[in-house]
Symmetry: C2
Subunit: 127 residues, 2 copies
């Protein structure tokens, strides 16, 4: 049997006082999980504040499940303080605790080249 | 010459104290404008707060240019208070002032079905 390195995806959002907004992110993670097939052992959501799990908590949960690689995907539109400083700082805590796990931060959503095509599609959507 | 109804697209974002974040939205609007070809006479950005122009200000500018149709596109990830209440309220002000202009709110970014594919692409992007 070949050894496959177990990989988990953690979608990280800001978190909101509004439970429905947090649930929207959790549903998105679930939809991503269905789309991911066997590329990720799990796709879950984590939050910078106001909702659970936290980002370190979400990473820890991936590692507890056996992940050797964790991809942290910032569900943010702009490269503000949260993307540039806060998320990397939270990730670094876990990197120090688990030096043998590869914890990688993917580019944030707003940086995706495909976002303009997505927006154009919405603008043209029938009312 | 056939009469073409002049249409403008206004991308509306929350607005940030961080000038770079607002500029990111303005650059996105410019990129959309290049991609739009002749579908829109202009593609510009408007902000709910903390940056200019405001949403009514952005709509007014479109109408001043001659728009008969204005598409307001919420650059937001969740259907929170801003998307559900604040943006429609701002748009309504202009609808009342300009009953002969068709001002339409497109679905917000976070509702786009294609967002999962975009996120999966980012997760898989080479570091």
């Amino acid at each position: 049997m070949c050894e496959v390195q177990m990989k988990c995806l953690l979608v990280v959002a800001h978190g909101s006082r509004r439970a429905e907004s947090n649930d929207e992110v959790r549903s998105l993670a679930a939809a991503l999980g269905r789309q991911a097939g066997d590329r990720y052992a799990s796709v879950t959501a984590g939050f910078l504040e106001l909702a659970a799990p936290s980002i370190p908590g979400g990473i820890e949960e991936c590692i507890r499940r056996g992940a050797k690689e964790v991809v942290v995907l910032p569900y943010f539109l702009s490269a503000g303080r949260h993307v540039v400083k806060d998320i990397p700082a939270e990730v670094d805590i876990k990197r120090r605790e688990h030096p043998h796990v590869n914890i990688r931060i993917a580019p944030y959503l707003g940086s995706a080249a495909g976002i303009t095509a997505l927006l154009m599609g919405l603008a043209e959507a029938p009312a």
